[in-house]
């Protein structure tokens, strides 16, 4: 492997990892606070990608408006789902929540076919980021450089919000003892609604950002939800920096696996998860539940 090939692939791995981080961080946030495993997260991602297609291709709006529309669209969908349906299930067993989010997948999957049909679409790079950038001996698409910047920025923003603001302190307290938190005057259901909305908006934005580098077609939700779960589990459930590391590990394994062992491409992420779980069953940055 030449240095150029190595650098190029490192870069593609980073871009993939950062795109995945945007999506997985939303799933992780929702699980960390609400303890709900949201199977519909992949579907939210797919809707984000479809929405940006409609907004930019059909309506001709700029790419950035499309990204915002995807985030806002999923925020609205999530808020409606949380307020009217999901909130009734917080006190129920996990199986009920799983079945519920799976039902959302089925409903939205058919809704997507009704709205967008079963054709394959593509979005293309936004005009401002169509070019290429010389990175040492290699040349890479500008848009992927942009993705590599977005990921760390989002991670830092989330870290600041959760670690350094009163809202973040309340969110962290909600993960530890929601009953006590409500006795201290905090409207915990409103906190839950906000977290579910933000986490889902991240899926929508992640889908919009992924749209230029992938083909949009039914079924794209199923792959992504598996990959997001792998990333979140590798990193440690509920741990934001864990998801960041998980996304990096995922990006590198997938990108370099495709080159070295192309036949194993689909299995590699699972092998990665298996390896991590054998060494640290609670994930890279997670902590054993007992210490809580």
């Amino acid at each position: 492997m030449t240095l150029t090939v190595f650098l190029t692939n490192t870069f593609y791995a980073l871009a993939l990892a950062m795109n995945m981080f945007v999506i997985a961080s939303g799933l992780n946030l929702i699980f960390g606070v609400l303890r709900v495993i949201n199977f519909a997260h992949g579907m939210f991602y797919m809707f984000g990608a479809y929405i940006i297609f409609t907004v930019t291709k059909t309506w001709g709006a700029p790419f950035w408006i499309g990204v915002l529309a995807s985030g806002a669209g999923l925020a609205v969908i999530a808020l409606v789902i949380e307020r009217f349906l999901l909130r009734r299930l917080y006190d129920k067993e996990h199986l009920m929540q799983l079945l519920f989010t799976f039902a959302i997948v089925l409903l939205m999957s058919d809704a997507a076919k009704m709205i967008w049909g079963t054709d394959q679409y593509s979005v293309g790079y936004p005009p401002a980021l169509k070019g290429a950038v010389r990175l040492g001996p290699t040349i890479v698409p500008q848009y992927l450089v942009f993705l590599c910047i977005v990921g760390p920025l989002l991670a830092i923003a989330m870290w600041l919000a959760v670690d350094r603001t009163r809202w973040g302190r309340i969110v962290r307290a909600a993960t530890q003892d929601r009953e006590m938190l409500s006795a201290l005057g905090v409207n915990v259901p409103a906190v839950y609604a906000m977290v579910f909305t933000i986490g889902s908006a991240l899926a929508g934005i992640g889908g919009a950002l992924a749209a230029p580098r992938i083909a949009l077609a039914p079924g794209m939700d199923a792959t992504i939800i598996n990959e997001c779960f792998i990333i979140v589990i590798i990193g440690g459930l509920g741990n934001m920096w864990g998801s960041f590391l998980g996304a990096l590990a995922f990006g590198f394994v997938v990108q370099f696996g495709t080159i070295f062992v192309p036949n194993w491409q689909d299995v590699l992420p699972y092998l990665l998860m298996l390896a991590v779980l054998l060494i640290r069953p609670w994930g890279l940055l997670g902590r054993p539940e007992l210490s809580r």
């Binding site: 003892d177 009953e179 006795a183 201290l184 005057g185």
Partner: protein
Amino acid sequence: MVDANSRAELTVDAIHTAYGLSQVLFGISIRVDPGECVALIGRNGVGKTTTMRSIMGLTPPRQGKVMWKGQDIARLPPYKICQLGIGFVPEERRIFPELSVWENLDIARRPAKAGKQGWSEPEVFALFPDLEGIRDRRGGVLSGGQQQMLTIARTLMGNPELLLLDEPSEGLAPLIVEQLRDKVAQLKATGLSIVLAEQNLEFVLSLADRVYILEKGEVRYTGTPADLRANQDIVKQYLTV
């Protein structure tokens, strides 16, 4: 049995409370006047904690009313009851273990009623000086005494007008219990109304204005600490293990 005494700030009127199928309270009625310290005493499992959880909305009563300043709060969610001026200090302390001491205080912060001197960090640290030195320590690593101070301080940050104190002396060393008694006396002196659930009779008798003795989810005796001291039969019947 709504009391004719309209001075009462809190009137718990014949509440029945159950956890699922197991009923714990059978028509408990208590009254708290402004600035009064009322004690709920009785052995383990008689319904002291459940009475407090019912007032706070954590385990809403199935029947009966909880009147707070003329409003029935029995069906309100806990956060609204807190915002109306009732603060709960649970027996298990329930410090957020992953949050620092200061963060535990910060999330409970609520503005004081207009025109009142409110609680914020300086006042809280003046009352519990030990907390100031450990303000960056994680809640989960504090000693029992520190946790008890913090859980009271945290509730004070919400500027309650009525404090529900559940078994504050539980599991603390005698010296710490003595300090804690002084702190609660100081709080009472500020005019804060207090409902105190306790098993430690001395702790109760030195602080309370009135005492309710509970047994099997009912009030069995009401009186002043002086009445109770004079009536050793009652003490033997309901309190001695």
